[in-house]
Assembly symmetry: D2
Homo-oligomer: 345 residues x 4
């Protein structure tokens, strides 16, 4: 049994990780940390754990966690993870970091969008944890930078079109809509029920921090610099991201053509479903699962593709993808512990 720990498990992503780990057939959950909730049962903080064997939050050092576990998930915030993760690595353990601190390979880009980086030399050692693109590297990775939720939905939505050279690189627009759990569990006026419910709005237009992460991966796929327009919106639902992506394609390209390219690209992927012509994903069809569903349409006469990609932001966009990465890094079956069917309705 693989021994796993979660560092900083007090938020929505943290508790989601605990669910996957505690049901995983090949994993023993050894430690769950939270300074704030120290000594409380997880079920006191998240009553959905009531009745499971009593896991308690502990406050532990990196070294203590490292000595108890084979692999550690860090769910610390950006800026904190950069100091903590290297300590774990030095103790020789594998780390999956869910913050943004190791996702960008370029130090200047990181420091432009975020802040000064205290562990810059690790940027080049981290593997970007999107298995559909980096599976081979992940097999031997020590440090995995688990992708952001918006980036996961957009990169998976565009990868086949970019890799195949079908998309006009100057024309890419990603109009994304995310459920509220993406904003975390900190009490903020903007995340209050009454502020969000029966509302809908965009935010951080042209300045969301996921932009450089998306552009880094799209550029790698295209083999050339890609600049996109990315507009995130806040959806009045708990979970889910749906990205509606627009890209120019050669006039005459048909929906069938595009679907064929996508089906072929994702033919062996267990967690990506390319829908048939005329079908488009709904976030409710992936709720609670590690799946990404993709629907495609092309306006052949003007040469523009509409690509719709849906994931659960807490699963394929965070905790589930982290489990998938763990499975790959540790030589387990890639789908192990990830067999959920969407909770619909």
């Amino acid at each position: 049994m693989l021994k796993a720990g979660v560092y900083g498990a007090s938020g929505y992503t943290g508790q989601e990780l605990l669910k996957f780990l505690s049901r995983h057939p090949d994993v023993e959950l050894k430690a769950v940390t939270s300074r704030r909730f120290k000594d409380l049962f997880v079920s006191d903080v998240f009553p959905c754990f009531e009745g499971l064997t009593g896991i308690k939050y502990v406050d532990a050092s990196a070294e203590e966690i490292a000595s108890a576990c084979d692999i550690i998930f860090s769910a610390l915030p950006h800026g904190v993870a950069m100091d903590f993760v290297p300590k774990l690595l030095k103790s020789g353990k594998q780390v999956i970091d869910l913050s943004a601190d190791f996702r960008l390979r370029s130090l200047p880009v990181y420091e432009k969008w975020y802040r000064k980086h205290s562990s810059a030399d690790y940027l080049s050692r981290a593997v970007y944890g999107l298995p559909e693109l980096y599976r081979d590297k992940l097999k031997t990775a020590r440090l995995v930078a688990n992708p952001g939720c918006y980036p996961t939905s957009i990169i998976l939505g565009l990868a086949p079109a970019l890799k195949s050279g079908l998309a006009d690189l100057a024309s890419i627009i990603a109009d994304s809509k995310s459920g509220v759990s993406g904003a975390g569990r900190e009490p903020k006026t903007g995340s209050l029920f009454c502020e969000v419910n029966e509302g809908f709005k965009p935010y951080n237009i042209l300045k969301h921090r996921h932009t450089p992460e998306i552009e880094q991966e799209l550029s790698a796929l295209a083999g050339s610099d890609v600049r996109i327009t990315f507009t995130p919106h806040l959806l009045p639902v708990n979970r889910g991201i749906l990205s509606t992506i627009y890209a120019g394609v050669k006039k005459g390209t048909t929906t069938k053509d595009l679907i064929e390219v996508y089906k072929s690209f994702y033919a062996k992927e267990k967690f990506v479903q390319v829908l048939k012509e005329g079908a488009y994903p709904n976030i409710s069809s992936v709720k609670g699962t590690n799946n990404c569903q993709i629907g495609l349409a092309v306006d052949s006469s003007i040469g523009r593709a509409v690509i719709v990609s849906a994931i659960d932001n807490l699963v394929k966009g965070a905790a589930g993808q982290a489990i998938q990465n763990m499975n790959i890094m540790c030589g387990l079956e890639e789908t192990s512990g990830l067999g959920n069917i969407a909770l619909f309705p």
Copy 2:
């Protein structure tokens, strides 16, 4: 034109008051205060005011507000209002207080459920602002204690049954469900979208602070001490309170009998609708209005009445009722400025 001011208008009830006052045909809104939002436009804090003539929040003393206004609405929190309201009254102006500080006529009861009272002598001078019960007193009131939201729904739901002697006083249970706006706009984990949405739960069972207020008024109606069981629940909606009330009645009493008593009691009331047999209220039918809808059923064989009462907690349960009180206190048409039809759907 009546000159009105709102003191402490930074919450949901405060902004709701501003809406009613700025559309009221007989009122000029002179001042709106908030220490936190000082110098900001109301529309910067609540974008639903965008495009209306620019009202700004000011930070002003009681005396400054009093000198500019004929009547002042205090939307300060419990414990703060008790110090502030007397200052306004001393300047000779009328005050409608939306806190709990002047609702209870008994000092010991207030101090048991809330805290030490700094202005206890005002308790006996305040009029409880439920027009359907205290209209005559309100006409000459200087200080009105605007009722709580749960109490409004429950007292209106029980008044005819108690006044007529129909209800068994030892058997009263009020099972109430409230929208989230009742919890205010302060950022709290428990009011976050993800905590409330797709959830439903009771809270403060047997210890909610509205209990003594409800019992005070039910006892006055019954002419004898009434103790109730009151269970509040949090509904995943923005607005609305629905109270399902149970009370023993004499066996053989029919639904028709009860409806007749209620229709007669509320015959002249503009804001209370007693529904016909078999019809029950939905909070969506009173959303945004000052109405209270009541539905009734009796199980004649076991002698138990089910009384269902619905209001909008921010309107009949707070701001709208305050406007109704103002209209009465100031000799205006009681329905003036309160002609909204529910925003359905």
Copy 3:
């Protein structure tokens, strides 16, 4: 591997059964029927199944289904199941019926609340499928009548109080609130998003068909006739039932006393959690799970208990309980396939 089939799997409960059965380690899903969706993939009707091995709906006779399966779940509507289920039984297979047709042991009661019964002789042979009360009988049952959703929440909430003789039988009130999936997937105006969202209302007051089912089981527990007042309400959520139950108890009984009785009653139950003093369940803590969470409070001075019980109406209130029954009937581990943790948020 147990061979299972689902007859009439086109609704919310049907698709939920398919999820549990297709993930169940000891079951092979052999057939799924729907006249309406015949020849369609389940994933065409419910896109949450996209990417799973392609199960198709078939239209098959009772005999065909019976010959392919060891156990059959009937998800046909009331009035249809009564004709169909006997055919399956005659072929010697085990049947779990999710309709109301075999839940009532008294023919006159069934015919008063529902309609003429065509297979009345089966009423006495069916076992009421609430494992916490009827586990032993279920082990050898051929026909199990899977309980209604409201009854499950109310009976589990009251069983310890009635069995122990603590509750005053004349005073029981169940104020229940259900998510919309309980109304099924048939298109009806009253189930439209805009009719339900931001609304809340009671319905079928004093005449809901689950009343006789609840009273039958409460009477059996009490050993004496019990009549209750049951008020169902429609909650604007997808899933979940929360019942707030009131019952007289002897003055002086404390919350601690009641909790002790409940903890002892349910000590060995895997799917019932009795919460500690001051904690009350939220439907979001049982979403997607087979759990029932119960919170308790007693007003000792007036002698009244408040019992709060929460389940997922589609799981412990329908499909999950059916799986639990199957596990018991077929000698499998009772918790097999039911290890979900609630999907929160």
Copy 4:
């Protein structure tokens, strides 16, 4: 007092019209028709009208309605209005038609997207009822084709950019999100609460019938043929449309430049608010109002504008705009009866 009637008032738009008309200071509501609800009180069908003076649905001919009213709102569906509206016009009365039947000026375009038109000669006589563009023509109009909800949000969002020649006509994309009331009140599986709640999806990609209406008006503004990509999505809210619109602009154009053009274009409009830099609309800020709020941003380096436009689909997108048109057609104050402030929260 203007005498008004509503023909076919059984849906969400119809009841919304009744609200505006019954509160309108210059209007007397003379007749409300519905074949289905004939002889029922409006309050029986829509309980939000409970307690208002009892309006009843009647079943009446075009001639009967015309003889009782000065102006008639037709809320009949597409394909039915085309036969009915000419009858009203022949009787000399003014008509505001809320269907799509008279919105398209080109017969072939109408017949390509909808069906054979039985009253094609009226297409050229109808005035497209978007007051911000056609106010002068509306003053003398006999037949007004009230715009669609999506078109209203998109055309108002693009008008200044197109009229000023700022936008690249080949690059326009409108990514729109609509509340569920836009789908009407007919019972359909896709509009059920459980299908929509906690979900989000696009629909009718590249083939929504509002496309030609949008393109007609954008082309008129641009003075040249415009083809757009329009992607509608279904939002889990009752009301509101938010359109996120993308258009190429000359590199170097700034957000400030664009805001200036918009502020100037809409300087005299009472129902359009152009937000300041960095502010974007939320549908909750226009809920229940006739307002359109617009926020703007430009990525100067790549030359792309992001235009965000929000309306209430039932008000500015339907009933409210119809009232605004009536006010203009009948010489009333344009804002009369439309003074609502948004119902937030």
